[in-house]
């Protein structure tokens, strides 16, 4: 078994009396897509926040590329190679698509404190931005103001920014949300190829996409992982069927 790229060990998080993470241990190996599923309110978002550094766990540890990053800030983890997409798009709405994507390049380059040269005249930045937009199919919309984008296009832009970071790990929070059948299919195809660049921790509601993409699935219910395994194992797990898939079948 290869070394995990991203790993949580026994994460615990409480909001007052509410336990939103109970001993959560998951891992992400090179080249795989690991999906975390669970009903609403299961604690998926809080888990993502802890992994990315926006929330501090009360207990437990987080490892990125073998390093303990539990106490690193969001930006430090990003610099260490973790790229995330947001469930609710976090984009600079007044800026153009191109500028949003360029932000990723600027961030990844570690050279944000340059005050004179226009960033959009920097051919190196431009080529990387255009490549990323091309890959997610947003090349034609590059000059548009982000607020003019459709919901689906915003999801694509989220992914494009993550791409510009050339990360070691992707953490994606519902990239299919609001995409529609056609969009989901394209995105599914895209993510399928992406796993070979960097593994993906995928939180997703779209079960078709999850079952089509995931190498492994972990099921989170009331803050606990109740099952973890391959697609077949999860499909067959009675506890999962009971707790979560029950209402689907």
């Amino acid at each position: 078994m290869t070394e995990a790229v991203l790993e949580t060990r026994d994460l615990c998080k409480r909001f007052g009396a509410l336990e939103v993470s109970k001993d959560v241990s998951i891992s992400l190996r090179p080249g795989e897509i690991h999906a975390v599923i669970g009903p609403n309110g299961a604690g998926k978002s809080t888990l993502i926040k802890q992994i990315c550094g926006a929330e501090k766990p009360d207990d437990g540890r987080i490892y990125l590329l073998g390093e303990d990053v539990t106490h690193l800030s969001v930006d430090a983890r990003a610099r260490a190679g973790l790229a995330r997409t947001f469930q609710v798009s976090a984009l600079a709405m007044e800026d153009t698509v191109l500028e949003n994507a360029a932000l990723g390049v600027v961030g990844a380059s570690g050279k944000a404190f340059r005050f004179f040269r226009p960033v959009l005249k920097d051919t190196e930045v431009l080529s990387r931005v255009e490549a990323a937009l091309e890959r997610v199919g947003l090349a034609d919309a590059a000059g548009k103001q982000t607020s003019e984008l459709s919901h689906g296009q915003r999801r694509q832009l989220e992914v494009a920014i993550a791409l510009t970071l050339a990360p070691k790990v992707f953490v994606m929070d519902e990239p299919m949300a609001g995409l529609g059948a056609e969009g989901s299919k394209t995105m599914t195809g895209f993510l399928d190829g992406l796993r070979h660049e960097a593994p993906i921790l995928l939180v997703e509601h779209d079960m078709d996409a999850v079952f089509a993409l995931a190498d492994r699935i972990s099921v989170l219910v009331y803050g606990s992982i109740i099952a973890s395994g391959t697609v077949e194992e999860i499909r067959a797990d009675p506890a999962v069927r009971e707790a979560y898939l029950g209402d689907l079948s």
Binding site: L91, N100, F116
Partner: protein
Amino acid sequence: MTREGIVNALVLVCLVLVPGWAFYAGETFTITLATRVVILALAAVGLNIALGLGGLVSLGHAVFFGLGGYTMGILAYHVQAYEPLFEWPFLFEGTKSMPAIWLAAVVLSALTAFVIGLLCLRTSGAYFIMITLAFGQMFYFFSISWSAYGGEDGLSIYVRNGFPGLNTLDPIQFYGLCFCVLVVVLWFASRLNRSRFGLALNAARQSPERVEAVGLRPFHLRLTAFVISGAVTGLAGALFADLNRFVSPAMFSWQMSGEIMILVILGGVGRLYGPVVGAIVFVALEHVLGDLSDYWHIYLGLLLLTVVLFVRGGLIGAVTGRRAAHD
């Protein structure tokens, strides 16, 4: 050229032609007014870097304006009074040279902005507005009671400071100098806006989580913006003191902070030339309304209300109708 570009060009042409006309017509006072416009615009361009790009609503920018003013006042006062500023580690008698004063004003303002920013940027929203106001009040009350440099009476500098190759006492030459400084700073601000830093700062205003997620610290970006902003406003303060040949605690007052902010909002927050248009309109109003009525503040208030309530994007927004363009 965009519509905003055309408006900007017109504004610049105006700032050249009007004083030019005034010079030939012998309307010296119009030149003085234009100088005031240009210097206030410069102060507001400084604030606009924090406010427009960084989203930092500072109600304490008079701190930097006043520091710039007092830098000029103190350096020149020691020359005027033949009392060295300090004698150790070397004898320093102050200076009457504008470039040296500007440098000192910029450095001092930047350092102060760094310290104030370090403390204030821990807060946000209404708290940020209020804590910057509090720092303004601290400087204000300190300057009032600091009798070594005149306290509330302020400091008078009898002769305007010099600039190599210019006769700064000649209003049109001093205007030209201030105008050039403004143009250079505007150019710098436009480059800044389009630079890597500007891109990141803009994004940090709109979506700080995003900026963090790409590996940048919004705090660092904001602090840097605050320092640059303070430095520019400080430079304006030094020029303002030279225009009046006088500096007083009024430059530190919270009304001064409010006025600088008014200039920015009146012209259009985040627009490169917003502060310039704001300053032109404000000084013109002060002048025209003042002639109409003793109670002209009422009309100024009504006008400001109208702009806030009904004109999106300030006056430039009203003319160009588009959002603040990023380039």
